[in-house]
Symmetry: C2
Subunit: 160 residues, 2 copies
DNA sequence: CGGTATTAAGTCGTGCACAACTTATTAGGA
DNA sequence: TCCTAATAAGTTGTGCACGACTTAATACCG
């Protein structure tokens, strides 16, 4: 009786994606939610040294790539609403990392321009992805696979 | 000159996990952050009908599995602090889904017990995982793989 | 037993995140 | 042209999420 007897069939707690399980640990959504918060927590001490929060860091990643974009374009890149970005951008401006100026050709739009300090922060941030990548501890293949699956998931869930 | 000339080597925007790229779309952390919010957004209309937020739904998933646990145990299951859970649990109590009672044998601890309404909500919630699983659109293999990778990532990032 | 350390829960302040709404500006059609 | 739609950004209210701290109760050690 090594199999603990009855129920070896029902002992299957494997997580079929489409089954109706209400067990927390069967849910991909929870694995996702927990992982996202865990990664953000890992960033926190590093970003504290730069005086940034995690969403602020993401904003700067975008602006370091292409400066002088609008709030709308930034929101499209990060999948965030203006109601989230407006106060966040005000804080970044108050901290002297960027300026917000109405565009002359379209007064509805606000252009975001890095200040010298904002641009310079890029160098200090250079070590952050390495440190995080290290902490994540995934192989290049696992990392690529995870990104691929997450993008597929996001695309599927966003449409319809 | 079909290769757009110079730079065909540097055109490799592939995302090595440990490279120092500061490009937003190379970052696993952003894929994770975006996916987590996208999935939560997909849950929202379904949970609205149950009068729940997503974190509240997660709390109920735990309580439907094992009722009468403490705030501490709940926090361990969800990886959440008491400073997050206390107000959330108050709202669930105000909505009549659970009761909080100090344990007689240890007055520091608070036991969470589902009310009849809280227990009954489980039936109405039964269709939620199916609907979400469907919207996610992953094969069983992809789903299992994603969960596996996310759990590995969480474990790696949480330690040390 | 007494006193200190530990633990459990909760409060407070800050910063997202988003829905619903407002304001201002531009676009486009009758 | 006017005038209605659509668009961009921002405001407001609610609910997380977490660090730092507080309060109360239990554990443990000399």
């Amino acid at each position: 009786m090594t199999g603990t007897g009855t129920g070896s069939r029902t002992d299957v707690r494997a997580a079929a994606p489409g089954d109706g399980s209400l067990l927390l640990d069967d849910q991909l959504c929870f694995a996702l939610y927990a992982a996202s918060r865990a990664v953000t927590a890992r960033y926190r001490p590093l970003l504290d040294e730069l005086g940034l929060t995690y969403p602020q860091y993401l904003v700067l990643l975008v602006l370091w790539e292409r400066d002088s974009i609008s709030v709308r374009e930034l929101g499209a890149a990060l999948h965030l609403e203006s109601s989230t970005l407006s106060p966040l951008l005000k804080r970044l401006e108050a901290n002297g990392l960027l300026r917000r100026e109405r565009r002359a050709d379209d007064e509805r739009s606000v252009a975001l321009r890095l200040t010298r300090d904002g641009a310079r922060l890029r160098e200090r941030a250079g070590t952050v992805p390495l440190a995080i990548g290290d902490a994540m501890g995934l192989t290049p293949e696992q990392d690529a696979l995870a990104k691929q699956l997450l993008r597929l998931l996001t695309a599927n869930v966003t449409e319809g």
